[in-house]
């Protein structure tokens, strides 16, 4: 399964550029641009959004938007199509959300999980405060101790930059496991990048679920190989 992703932006250049960036990390995902108006001005166009949705594959599509009226145009497009099943709007920052969504889609996530990946890219400031009223319910594994853990030191020169984070998040998102790495969601590329973990940093992995052991050994193998980098 590969979910397609549609980018609705006021600017054709923004849509194309964001897609160019995400495509580098998700070469197998259909990324569709709906940027600017029909006559090349700044704005959004229902026609362009509908055309992009038409090209999206049968595995579903997630739509990312930039500013206010792009959201409205995307919503209008869905209303016009009769709110098709399998097409979801993500409330996410465009660039970070797109990259995270593309990586999740590359990893074979379904449309709901791709949307979640985009929305998880909101960043630490928008995440729930630890210890707040219902944070316990959101804790991975429902607060139970992890099924498997491990600690691995980053050996590659550049540490946890975009490509390794994409690789790791993509791999982990395809496993049946909840994984945190130094407390952030292991399936969230942007989460991993916010760790700012450089060479020599230790990644503490906690995993819950059926594939918990596989998840930890996956991280172990990736880290110890230096992500295939010097």
């Amino acid at each position: 399964m590969t979910v397609s992703i549609v980018v609705v932006s006021h600017s054709a250049k923004i849509a194309d550029g964001a897609i160019e960036l995400a495509a580098q990390m998700a070469p197998g995902v259909v990324l569709l641009a709906a940027g600017g108006t029909d006559d090349g001005r700044i704005g959004t166009s229902l026609d362009k959004v509908l055309a992009a949705l038409e090209q999206a594959g049968g595995d579903g599509a997630v739509v990312l938007t930039d500013l206010g009226s792009a959201v409205m145009t995307a919503e209008s497009a869905l209303e016009f199509l009769g709110d098709p099943e399998g097409v979801l709007l993500a409330d996410a920052p465009l660039v970070e959300g797109l990259v995270a969504a593309a990586v999740a889609a590359q990893g074979g996530a379904d449309v709901r999980a791709v949307k979640d990946a985009a929305e998880a890219a909101l960043g630490p400031a928008r995440r729930q405060e630890p210890g707040s009223a219902d944070a316990a319910g959101d804790r991975p594994g429902g607060g139970a101790p992890p099924d498997c853990t491990g600690d691995f030191e980053l050996v590659n020169l550049a540490g946890m930059h975009a490509r390794p984070a994409a690789k790791m998040a993509g791999g982990l998102s395809s496993l049946d496991a909840e994984v945190t790495i130094n407390g952030v969601d292991g399936a969230s590329m942007t989460g991993l990048m916010t760790l700012g973990a450089g060479k020599g940093s230790v990644l503490h992995v906690e995993a819950w679920g059926t594939d918990a052991e596989r998840a930890v050994s996956y991280v172990s193998a990736l880290v110890q190989s230096g992500f295939g980098e010097p």
Binding site: D38, G43, S45, L46, T73, A77
Partner: protein, 210 residues
């Protein structure tokens, strides 16, 4: 006089005329509290509707409304595109494929349009937006249609007059939605351009029936 496909075509033609005539006024209003593109965008959008009407003649009022929805959403570019597009789309659904719109159906269509604008733009009455023209128009049309004394033209007139009064009443309001909301209290003392263009559209509906 009936609100049939011929009336709808005339209405949309008069809308295009009104947007062209009031283009500069809408630009000025929008320059004061927005990004000054409303006149341009509405003119372009309704010129595109005119062009579509030149290509094919809609068979029902509902078909005309739906075509207008599609065209505005694709050609306007700014926030007014999806807002008006949704309004016309919901109105099209409300009138269905009937050959003629009855007075009470007109009130229903206006209510559906207003609800669409609210759903899309998340604005409430008093936020200094087009909702402040639509909501009194819906109420006036409903009252006129339910009162039974008003004929079809009376219902159209009631809606248009209420929308115009609603637009004027946005003058003292402080904007809470859209670009104008960034201005805060400085948005007071200016008329909302979206409320004005909404009133123009509902006034054109009267002109088409007269």
């Amino acid at each position: 006089m009936v609100l049939d496909a011929g009336w709808a075509v005339k209405w949309l033609t008069l809308c295009a005329q009104a947007m062209a005539e009031h283009r500069v006024e809408l630009i000025e209003l929008d320059r004061a509290i927005g990004d000054s593109d409303h006149g341009e965008n509405m003119d372009r959008g309704f010129q595109a509707v005119l062009a579509k009407l030149g290509e094919s003649t809609p068979e029902t009022p509902g078909a005309a409304l739906k075509m207008t929805a599609m065209t505005l959403m694709s050609k306007v570019g700014g926030a007014a595109g999806p807002l008006y597009g949704t309004a016309f789309l919901r109105a099209a659904t409300a009138v269905g494929d009937a050959a003629e719109i009855e007075p009470s159906t007109w009130a229903d269509a206006l209510a559906a349009a207003r609800d669409g604008i609210v759903a899309r733009g998340k604005a409430e009455p008093g936020d200094k937006t087009m909702v402040d023209a639509w909501t009194p128009a819906v109420d006036a049309a409903r009252a006129a249609a339910d009162g039974g004394s008003a004929d079809l033209l009376g219902v159209l007139v009631a809606a248009a007059e209420a929308a115009e009064a609603g637009a004027v009443a946005t003058d003292p309001l402080i904007a809470r939605k859209g670009r104008a909301s960034y201005l805060g209290e400085r948005s007071a003392g200016h008329r909302d351009p979206g409320a004005v263009s909404s009133a123009l559209i509902l006034r054109a509906a009267v002109g088409a029936a007269a």
